[in-house]
Symmetry: D2
Subunit: 475 residues, 4 copies
């Protein structure tokens, strides 16, 4: 790693120029963020605010980081996935002096250390301050602070409990170390912390659970459920990035293959339609009868994973659930089936069980492993079960991320502006802002909107300028 | 009309046998309704309840009517559209002794008389009782009762005001007549009325406006916004029935044509995708930046109606708004452009202005009129601007209507069961029932659901049996 | 029938005005034919030529007939299918004085009598002349003349052989009757006959077989294999008209259904893609490994009919072969499966065997029959196994038929112009004319062609004006 | 380059193990080639035959090379494109002892030297023999031999003429050098040469021109026009590899973009459908009215390049023609438009003119260059105008190439078996072999064929085992 005496840990600072060139291209594709920069360049609503980000350190995220900086924030960043960093993006950011702690192919220990680094703003006296705001993706920073705080409040039950996974133990070890090295640290962090905006379905789900249990420490904004996030990057982003990951990893012909997509939420919808457009026959698995009926109305076979064993060539998990593809499933698959995850955590696939199964593992190239079972049959596992679009390709394209990250930026501004008004619960951005994010992206792609006449607006009972739909509208 | 001394007004009772054959076929395609019949056959939760329905009198609606009767209701029915009745469906229902007042091609005066007939349950003493429950589509029955009641309460301002359309005047005339013939009638109707379930986006919109203004008289259930309604019949129904209407009316080749779809809500989405699948180039018009961005992400050109004049071959309105296609638009269209509406009311297109414009009108066949402007250019208007899928074809297919009507039936049962608990506001069916409606339709099309393990359910924080999603989830 | 003393046999001359209105609409959609009319209006290349047509008597065919007349021909017409006539189209043509012999719902006896009528030009002396040119679809006229001629030449083996079907016997009976009533008639017909242009894959196949056996009596032009025919009306026509036929017959929801398309030639391709666009899951059956691989590359399951029994909801034959769906298949189908044919003859489905099987037959409405087998299971057979798009809807739309019929008209002109040069073999129209037909249809749908520079044309080794491709090019 | 004393020139022999792993994966996806290996393992029909290949040195080609070796051939190989080599594939082949001369990023001088190396079989006495058979892609080897032979025959006109491009001059210089170093070489090569099989539309076009002019020196097999080649790799290959190239080069969001596809042949069809499936709006340009009409029937706007300037975001040439995108076009494009070629030669785009235009060129990363014009507007040119799927990604996937290369292998076997029978003209593989190639690929993707009964085959007039279609059938 290229850390040395600098306040960053990245792969290679020499990649900064290449990163900058790609940043320039990305800015052209991210009109929402660029517009927000222009709008708030003078007022700098986050002036001096300490912001910790834990979100895939890609080129698009670099544009987000520089947007946050442009509107005044003091930013530190880590990735939220051991494989998702684009090293040239990290380098470009580090070179500007923004502390970033991320490289492609971290160990879990390194990953959580990086998360801590991103949380540790030097106080100028050799100690550390925490963030005032957090940009979270999957809730790892939120988890760490909450668990650290719980420990400092005297509840040691969790850190001393048996761990269900290797990663869980890594977190516990880290918390124990911090407890020794920085006594009272998490309490001080919580004292300054004003809010978190969360990017993903999974992270949001955790926040609602925390809030329901009365344990949420700060106001949170659910960015995922902005329409311009969940109905765009989850759906259209995956529609572009799943095949990209599969192609860069395996160069596989998709036409004629049987592809099994586990889950038909927004991510699953994007994946299933993409694979079908390539000429694959897609089988969807679902637990929810409504989503299952949607899949059937779109012409997909809806069946169980078990029913596909022996005929499925490609398996993709998109659920946010665990144990969706089990070891037994993998052992029963057609020879040389490809297995990957684009949902959230790597526990959608039983990777730990696979590694412990006695199957031999042959690394083909980074993020591509061939496991051969004792019966001679083999499967390919991509990105070790982590997000295949980020591990094997470069994540969602810039344009759709501009929508998501415009929501993130507006959420950060909103959290700070309302830091005294908001309480520790989960908020959603108002529909008016949601519409604004969409509006910022229309010109770039040549969309011409129709304007309501005053008479039409009155007939509909809405304002000419929106919002145009009731809150329960589903788009 | 075939009314005579019978308690029905229909086209021809001789069509009853043909209607019954098609009813038998439809039952096979409506597993949700058939399952509800079986489930409530013994308990008859609507036993003796007077139910007035105002909803397109099609084969599918006939299956709904017989379902309501099977679970105990005393039903009277009218159509909610002058062109949407299938005469053989009305005949089959009339023949069973259920009073039905509907035929294809009513005048507006006949239409509103039929609505009153459907509201008028003989009290056995020469007078009339009103319904206890109403099934409404577009809110015409709800409107009539509210306006009648308002008049009886002494507010004559509306019935004496100038009318914006011919239809408005017809309603006022009817109310004045009822006021003379049945003094105090509406007050008695309201006294017995326990609730209404509403089918459409437009009708629901009116209900929310009534409730907001404090004028809603009874509890209402918004059936439209059940997921298994709005995301199914609006979307998948229109995907099948728009082209069906266009083909039966015009036999037009869709491939290679430029089709303009006004609005990209659920109805617009279904229409736009259907037309594209046929090889048409679709231009979408939108007022809402979020829906506009969705259309753009799906590869549609998003532009104004004005920009399409001279190149658009087919125009379809799907908005629920008024004046979407104006007379000026129509005068500027390509020669022999086809114009139709699948949104809600015929005022989406300025039909009145067209009729008053001096254009010559040539009737090609029922529901197909050619208007020739003074400059020699002409357009085809379908179904006089009313719903093209119902006016020119047979509406949505049975299977998708089984979803909508299962929601209707469950809503009627729910309204009656909670008649003492509910207040005069707008309710939505609980998600659990929504999922149940979906579940009832899976087996018919061979869907195999996956079942959550207890451990997975706990991980997600849901019950193994659902509901599976938070209320804000958009599907 | 409305025959009387007139030289036509149709359903009802009173439908002529309605037919004319639809003809006016169709002319707007048939730019190729209208352009040919303009081009040859003065020179009338078929002046006085006796032309017999045997081709579905639809609105589109009416435009073809009037085109042939406009360029000078003396035309008599029959349909080539007992169910395909649009009675108002036939009426409009009859009213102009052109002899037409066709109505929807002929018996087989009536059908072949009509064919003979179309062949019988009054000689003014109480006898009959035959046609100089024939427009054939499926080869029935060609068959009749060849078999009649064979009989007159003394070979009675065929007319006295056992018949494989009822229709075969009808033809034999007719020939025997003609032999009595018009001795030497076929010999005189053949003496005047200069050529035939054939519309369909099946008819063309018969012509090549005749030619190969040395039995073809006249030059023939294979219109089917013009690119602008086989790659357009077979493919894009069926993509529009199959669903139209299914909808008008059954109003069935296609989304979520399993549809089995037998054959993946151009017709099958159009059908399979149409059904999938509606959300059906399509299974293709094929005998040819190349077409099968194409289907698989497009994401279709390719399997046998047997493998679909019990899960297929809709069956469509598109093969041109016989016994594709057998009685045993039908008996094994899911209850209430829909069975139809859009290939060529009704023997693609074993209709005779079905009728003889003891299954009870219930007619739902014209062209829709429900057969219930002894085990209680039933199927719906559409159009008695004849072309479902013509029997249950109105055939292909005008625009695509304008391509096919432009080829037909050019073929008729070509046959007459070369009547002394051509010999009794099967010709294809030159690519230059094929390109010309396409060119005539571009403006109507707004296509802007790019023009080759002289330098580019030289680089490609083609003329700037085309033809642009080698003969073996497949498009 | 890693050449040293070995008989190969490649990037890095150390990549051989990685290449072998990917070869193992590819073999699983290339059932046609593997089946041919098994079938001819014993008889080795190319035993000892010297084969020179000039075809993209990818993983898939490596499987082809090893197939040729397995059936007996003595193989030397070069790539046919300076950017298309996968260095690990070349390494894996080199390591087995097969002479290969190819690396990614050759100069034009190096490229043509490699081609000569691939042609130069050591004769054991310090001199060189030529190949007995050639596998050609684009015709470069064929061109070199023909031009060398022409020069040796005394015609110096071409080598001394002015060159239209830098590459042309490189070839002339090489021929002059060979003339000095190896007098009489080409005459000896031609004496042994028995035939060539050609892969591409462009190369085949050249062969027909040579044959027509009477200059073709050997029998040639047109592999491109095997159905299982042109209708598969051109169409389905590009459908998968174009987006792959665009994504790896630019990570660009395709949804919402306007993409211009120049040409709607098989390659253009694959490209246009792929881009649309991603949500791009596709404009097609065409010179041929038939292909233009096809594009229109599929719902594409067909227009000129000029009409798209200012709105097109992505341009793809697929024509096989030259000067399709001119300098003036590029100067008029929307800022940051992406320009690439997937047709054949880089002269589809005026790259030379672009380089000479004074635009500044910024290399973003290998194969991605940003050109900024004097007015400040810029474009991105991919792969220097050469094939974007090979330059920026890894070419077509293995499965579809298995079809093409099975044809190649069968063509090589056929050329050798008929070396005494064939004359110097262009042959096509018999349809029976075409069907066989398809058949070899069905099982892998689970296709179940239907078998004709003897009666059905007789009805169709074909053999139960095929071939099933007439030669003019277009699929």
């Amino acid at each position: 790693m290229d850390a040395a005496t600098h306040d960053y840990k990245i792969r290679d600072i020499g990649l900064a120029d290449f990163g900058r060139k790609e940043l320039d291209i990305a800015e052209h594709e991210m009109p929402g963020l660029m517009s927000i920069r222009r709008k708030y360049a003078a007022s700098t609503p986050l002036k001096g605010v300490r912001v910790t980000g834990s979100l895939h350190m890609t080129i698009q995220t670099a544009v987000l980081i520089e947007t946050l900086k442009d509107i005044g924030a003091d930013v530190r960043w880590a990735s939220c996935n051991i494989f998702s960093t684009q090293d040239h993006a990290a380098a470009a950011i580090a070179k500007t002096g923004t502390p970033v702690f991320a490289w492609k192919g971290e160990t879990l220990e390194e990953y959580w250390d990086c998360t801590l680094d991103a949380l540790s703003f030097p106080d100028g006296k050799g100690g550390f301050l925490g963030p005032q705001l957090v940009v979270d993706d999957g809730g790892d920073v939120t988890l760490l602070i909450h668990k650290g705080y719980e420990l400092e409040k005297g509840d040691e039950s969790w850190v001393n409990s048996a761990s269900g996974s290797h990663e869980e133990q890594v977190i516990k070890n880290l918390l124990k170390r911090v407890a020794k090295e920085r006594p009272g640290y998490w309490t001080r962090v919580v004292a300054d912390w004003k809010g978190v905006s969360e990017e993903t379905t999974t992270g949001v789900h955790r926040l609602y659970q925390l809030a329901e249990a009365g344990n949420l420490l700060v106001p949170a904004i659910n960015v995922n459920d902005s329409v311009t996030k969940s109905k765009f990057d989850n759906l259209y982003g995956c529609r572009e990035s799943l095949a990209d990951g599969l192609k860069r990893a395996m160069d596989v012909m998709l036409a004629g293959k049987v592809a099994v997509v586990c889950g038909y939420g927004d991510v699953g919808k994007g994946c299933a339609h993409s694979l079908r457009a390539y000429g694959a026959r897609v089988v969807v698995t679902e637990i929810d009868p409504i989503n299952a009926l949607q899949a059937a109305m779109e012409g997909f076979e809806v069946n169980t994973v078990e029913s596909t064993l022996g005929r499925g060539d490609i398996y993709v998990t998109t659920t946010g659930n665990k144990d969706v593809l089990t070891l037994a499933h993998m052992q029963g698959m057609k020879d040389q089936a490809i297995v990957c995850n684009i949902g959230h955590f790597d526990n959608e696939i039983q990777v730990d069980a696979l590694n412990a199964s006695g199957a031999t593992r042959l690394n083909i190239k980074p993020q591509v492993d061939k496991y051969t079972f004792k019966n001679g049959s083999s499967i390919f596992l991509l990105a070790e079960g982590r997000l295949v679009n980020l591990g094997c390709a470069t994540g969602h394209p810039s344009f759709v991320m501009s929508n998501s990250f415009s929501n993130q930026t507006l959420a950060q501004i909103d959290l700070w502006a309302n830091k005294d008004a908001y309480t520790a619960k989960v908020y959603i951005l108002p529909k008016k802002l949601d519409e604004e994010v969409a509006r910022l992206h229309l010109e770039k792609i040549g969309v011409k909107l129709t304007t309501l006449s005053a008479e039409q607006a009155a007939y509909l009972g809405v304002s000419v300028d929106g919002p145009y739909k009731p809150d329960h509208y589903r788009y």
